[in-house]
């Protein structure tokens, strides 16, 4: 069975050598590619079945390799919103993470005393975004909102826990 496996692999690699589609590269000089010296058959009687209906269930049980793309719907009951399509016309942009979520995080340090909110993956006019965020957050806060901008890495760091407020602000702008 293993010899058959090796030859079928070789055939597959030769046939699809000039295809443009992605395929697993074959490594010829490895332990797994070399055939066994003796083929040992098991003692239990079994049948080999190749039923496409049953194989669908196997594929259903196997995990996904890549994060699926969200589908366009009219409403999302959970409160999650997708990003706008025309993204290049905006003055600034907050890229979504690979899980399609908004990259706003809370960092707690010094035994819960220090709380910083980070907004990551910012492109474009980061200073304009910082100004607008400060204006928005200042309405709800007595203390002055302290922030730091890192243009190279595209991060704004704001003192305090404003994660939900910033997420609401960005979702309103469909970012």
């Amino acid at each position: 069975m293993s010899l058959r496996c090796y030859f079928s692999q070789l055939l597959r690699s030769r046939l699809s050598a000039h295809s443009n589609t992605y395929k697993n590269s074959v490594r010829h000089a490895t332990y797994k590619a070399s055939p066994f010296a003796e083929d040992i058959e098991p003692t239990v009687k079994y049948e080999v079945s190749k039923n496409p209906e049953e194989w669908k269930y196997v594929e259903r049980a196997l995990p996904l390799t890549i994060v699926p793309q969200p589908i366009r719907k009219e409403s999302y009951p959970s409160g999650w919103k997708p990003q706008t399509e025309d993204v290049k016309k905006l003055p600034y942009l907050v890229q979504r993470t690979k899980n399609h979520m908004i990259p706003v995080y809370l960092q707690i340090s010094q035994r819960g005393v220090r709380r910083h909110t980070f907004v990551r993956k910012i492109q474009g006019d980061i200073n304009l975004l910082e100004q607008e965020l400060k204006e928005f957050l200042q309405k709800e806060s007595f203390q002055p909102i302290r922030s730091q901008v890192n243009e190279l890495t595209g991060i704004i760091r704001i003192n305090g826990d404003h994660v939900n407020a910033i997420k609401y602000f960005l979702e309103k702008k469909n970012l």
């Binding site: 443009n20 395929k23 010829h28 000089a29 690979k98 492109q123």
Partner: protein, 280 residues
């Protein structure tokens, strides 16, 4: 010596005469057969990059078609610090230090107490090879063999590859070729090709499979600075070491798709877990 040089000159000019072709008809015929590239994970935040598809059939450069490259792989942020960390990892993970110093138990002698504890007015000592003594053992010296194995986190290795490919593309050191088929197996041909196209003295050819066309393997066997590598062997150190990187179209598809899949990985648990040597 002169005869050697003249012989080389003759062979060079011979290749130039034989393999320099700029027939337009050939280009037109070829371009009809070339399909455009479709990018997996359509880029949203950056525009796709474009690159010429070339050929190794003739010494002169022939541009066959324009191909699109995914910006997440070929226009990623050029993180020089991550590239350096990858190079350091590649050099160190297999490095074993054989430096060795003897500790006090290993140094010859020193079993007997040199002089009695009390009465002499001298300092008290137990052996002549203690670390306090000249010629004594070393305390925290190098102990052979010391492996320096460590695994750089998977995301850093991934970003290292995308950064390096982006750097190569940005500095015009990346070329795409339809296949690695050469018309002849003489090393002079490939050397002349590289020289005339200004591909830099050292070139790294990347093919999809490890079994490569015969002519190029024979031609590059003797030439130390032109190397062949299968797609699974692509690494940051090799890309830095060679001036130019040449990918075949199939290798480009494979590498780009594999990197994009890993950038959009669903469950990174297996890949972020601590590295364990496979037992079977």
């Amino acid at each position: 010596m002169l005869s050697n040089i003249s012989k080389n000159l003759r062979t060079c000019t011979g290749y130039l005469h034989k393999y320099c072709s700029t027939s337009v008809a050939a280009i037109e015929n070829k371009s009809n057969a070339i399909e455009p590239r479709t990018l997996a994970f359509p880029p949203k935040y950056q525009d796709p990059r474009q690159i010429w598809l070339e050929s190794l059939d003739t010494i002169d450069q022939r541009k066959l078609a324009l191909l699109e490259l995914h910006p997440a792989v070929f226009a990623a942020s050029p993180r020089i610090d991550v590239i350096q960390q990858n190079v350091r990892w590649q050099q160190l993970y297999r490095y074993v230090s054989y430096a060795h110093t003897k500790n006090k138990f290993e140094v010859r002698g020193g079993g007997r107490k040199p002089w009695p504890q009390k009465g002499l007015g001298k300092a008290r000592h137990g052996s002549i090879r203690s670390p306090l003594w000249r010629g004594g053992g070393v305390i925290h010296g190098p102990r052979s063999p010391t492996p320096h194995f460590y695994m750089l986190p998977f995301p850093k290795r991934l970003i290292g590859l995308t950064s390096m490919l982006s750097v190569k593309f940005a500095q015009d050191d990346l070329h795409i070729v339809d296949s690695l088929e050469l018309p002849t197996d003489e090393p002079g041909y490939i050397e002349e090709l590289v020289k005339s196209r200004l591909w830099g003295p050292s070139v790294l050819f990347i093919n999809l499979e490890d079994i490569m066309p015969r002519n190029i393997t024979v031609a590059t066997e003797q030439v130390k600075h032109i190397n062949l590598m299968p797609a699974y062997g692509l690494n940051v150190y090799s890309m830095l070491k060679h001036n130019t990187l040449v990918l075949t179209r199939a290798a480009l598809d494979h590498i780009e798709n594999k990197l994009l899949e890993n950038l959009h990985m669903n469950d990174p648990k297996a890949v972020l877990a601590k590295f364990k040597v496979d037992q079977c």
